[in-house]
């Protein structure tokens, strides 16, 4: 790109504009939206720009963020996972039941009970992903339908197990630590989120498998002709996505202190929205982990800000929908800039 010229104010402002445009093209619209949101809500509410509230926002966004990471993998390969909500619910129910049972059976070994419960929950959730993976990769069912169908099946099963009643009886330590605990002043769930973000980042950007997600999503046929085991890649995608959703489910269970079959209903669409706002393409092959993290943060931040600014819930729906569309329009414009710059 041309070096910024150095004569006078116009040139200065022009170069500032140019610089902004560059940031826009590199990072997308999200940073701007985040800044606008921060400024707006800071003006609208005194309680918004406080350490405790922002920590709160980050902590609230943990669950969506982890699920969105998994969703991103599915989107990268050109699919969807509409069953993430069900996976969260099943994990929560199974994990809570197992933990409660273990805690009753051996009241002295709380930690073992917690470990067993988490294991059971995550296994149950991940096994839903196993089904998705088999359907998509072996039977070639379109991910939309496969995960939609499985989500209906899983939801029915979850309700069948619990009858819609929350599952109580988990050791109090579980919620106290994994739901509400803090370490060096930072809530424990945030550590999990950071850890998983780093792992997924490394996976996606640093490994062959990560590359294959993009390749399969970009052009399955080409991927296959390049000697990639596309079916295995797809299978792994859905299992990983389910695993992430399951971890999120266990963390949420700790936060809620009960196992619930009724959680997560809005997660599928919300996680897709977080990804798409972050520039992940629904056609597959395009998307970045860092942006997805920002996307999830942004959605939760806006909800929090609107709550603090005392915006009615009807209006909140309107604003959120509008923002979603706006973000995508901006991304469209960005793509045009890119095409114009042509690398």
């Amino acid at each position: 790109m041309s070096p910024p010229s150095r004569n006078g104010a116009t040139a200065d402002s022009r170069s500032a504009f140019h610089w902004l445009k560059l940031v826009f093209v590199r990072l997308g619209v999200l940073p701007f939206l985040l800044i606008v949101a921060l400024v707006t809500f800071t003006l609208a509410s005194d309680n918004f720009l406080t350490v405790s509230n922002l920590t709160n926002v980050v902590r609230q966004s943990v669950y969506l963020m982890i699920v969105a990471l998994g969703q991103m993998l599915a989107l990268l390969t050109g699919g969807f996972d509409l069953s993430v909500g069900t996976i969260v619910a099943i994990t929560s129910v199974v994990g809570a039941m197992a933990m409660a049972a273990a805690a009753t059976a051996m009241p002295d070994t709380v930690w073992l009970a917690i470990a067993l419960g988490c294991l059971a929950g995550v296994l149950a959730g991940t096994s839903v992903g196993l089904l998705n993976g088999i359907g998509v990769s072996v039977f070639g069912v379109s991910p939309f339908i496969m995960t939609l169908g499985i989500s209906s099946v899983g939801f029915g099963a979850g309700l069948y197990i619990t009858g819609g009643v929350p599952v109580y009886g988990m050791p109090i330590e579980f919620g106290d630590i994994f739901g509400f605990g803090t370490l060096f002043g930072i809530p424990v769930p945030i550590y999990f989120a950071v850890g998983l973000v780093v792992l997924v980042y490394l996976l996606v950007n640093g490994t062959r498998l990560g590359r294959y997600f993009y390749a399969v999503g970009g052009n399955v046929k080409a991927a296959r002709l390049s000697g990639i085991n596309t079916r295995l890649t797809l299978f792994v995608t859905y299992v990983l996505c389910a695993f992430l959703a399951a971890v999120s489910g266990m963390l949420l269970t700790a936060r809620l202190d009960t196992g619930e079959a009724n959680v997560g209903a809005s997660l599928p669409l919300e996680s897709i929205a977080a990804c798409v706002i972050a520039g992940v393409s629904l056609r597959g092959g395009v998307g970045r982990v860092e942006n997805v993290v920002l996307g999830a943060l942004f959605i939760v931040l806006v909800q929090n800000g609107m709550n603090l600014a005392r915006i009615g819930s009807y209006l909140q729906m309107v604003v959120l929908g509008g923002l979603l569309i706006l973000a995508v329009i901006a991304d469209q414009i960005r793509l045009r800039y890119i095409a114009a710059m042509n690398d």
């Binding site: 918004f48 709160n56 309700l159 929350p166 509400f180 009960t258 009724n262 809005s266």
Partner: protein, 332 residues
């Protein structure tokens, strides 16, 4: 046995403003034949409706009638509820008990069903149709009002003002609007100030986020009042913030979580409308109508507030399904 149970009866019926009298409700011993009774619920996803399910299923067993339960899957599924009731009638139901999704939206259906000479009983939620055969319900407005009164009594006008965050439930649902109105009416004129009304889905995570954000906006809150889910979600949040002593929690209806919360001293109080009894009475009314017996046209259990003071005397069998009860969709 659960009966006799103290209920209120409205006369003339179907008008909540009518004068009411106290009755001791006693159901039939046995039905004369195994009637087929269809029950339709908005959903079967929470403990409240599970309790109603428990009530209708137990009463059907006690009376020796068949029961078929359908559920629409949520409050946004009015069309589905209508289709399900139509299917039920097509399957040969002798009577229909409806927990309605919409106050007015089912009137046509009621008309159709009644025109086939099938009794229709309105349970829990309320419908506006004049053609209903009977009602077994209380007004959710009164549930809200009971909660509000409880608060207002503790903080009458003139005492130190207190701040309440109010979480009535999902926007637009009939019972939520009713509860909201009742609550706000009841606290009017007292020292209770509702600083925030936050609608939201009754999922626990949604309510959790609402509570957290409200705590952010009002660090000096005194009460959290709202749905049972709100109350349940509030407990761990307050505990983690060390606010348990500062902020008290109220629910405006009763669930197992609320029960446990009150027993443990984490929730201050909640009114109960005895949903199990409402379910039982609805089935009894249906059978009485089918058998041409006398029946109370419009009854509902008397509301009372369960608080930490009186919980010891409270029998949850009128309000909650027992532990380990799993939903019953069919009684033969």
């Amino acid at each position: 046995a659960w009966y006799p149970y103290e209920v209120e009866s409205w006369n003339p019926p179907f008008d909540m403003a009518s004068p009411r009298e106290k009755l001791s409700y006693v159901p039939l011993e046995k039905a004369s034949k195994p009637w087929e009774i269809c029950v339709s619920f908005p959903h079967m996803k929470d403990a409240y409706w599970l309790a109603v399910d428990y009530g209708v299923a137990e009463e059907a067993k006690d009376l020796g009638v068949k029961m078929q339960l359908v559920e629409a899957g949520g409050y946004t599924e009015l069309e589905k509820q209508i289709s399900q009731i139509e299917d039920c009638v097509a399957a040969g139901a002798n009577a229909v008990i409806i927990g309605a999704i919409s106050f007015d939206g089912l009137n046509n259906l009621v008309h159709e069903v009644r025109s086939k000479d099938i009794p229709v009983i309105d349970v829990i939620n309320g419908m506006s149709s004049p053609e209903l055969s009977a009602k077994s319900l209380v007004s959710f407005g009164e549930m809200g009002a009971k909660t509000g009164e409880f608060l207002a009594k503790m903080h009458p006008a003139g005492s130190d003002p207190v701040k309440v965050g109010w979480f009535p439930g999902p926007a637009g649902a009939g019972w939520v609007e009713a509860g909201n109105t009742g609550f706000l009416e009841a606290v009017k004129g007292s020292a209770v100030e509702v600083v925030e009304t936050k609608y939201g889905d009754t999922g626990k995570e949604a309510q959790s986020a609402l509570i957290e954000d409200t705590l952010g906006a009002y660090p000096d809150l005194d009460y959290i009042a709202g749905t049972a889910v709100t109350a349940e979600a509030a407990i761990p949040i307050l505990r983690s913030r060390g606010l348990t002593d500062q902020i008290k929690v109220l629910s405006y209806y009763y669930t197992p979580g609320v029960d446990q919360g009150i027993r443990r001293g984490q929730i201050l109080a909640a009114p109960t409308d005895s949903p199990v009894i409402q379910g039982r009475i609805a089935v009894d009314q249906a059978v009485r109508i089918l058998e041409g017996q006398d029946f109370a046209k419009h009854v509902g259990p008397a509301l009372f507030v369960v608080s930490q003071d009186n919980i010891a005397d409270f029998d949850p069998g009128s309000t909650l399904a027992p532990d380990g009860f799993s939903p019953v969709f069919r009684v033969e």
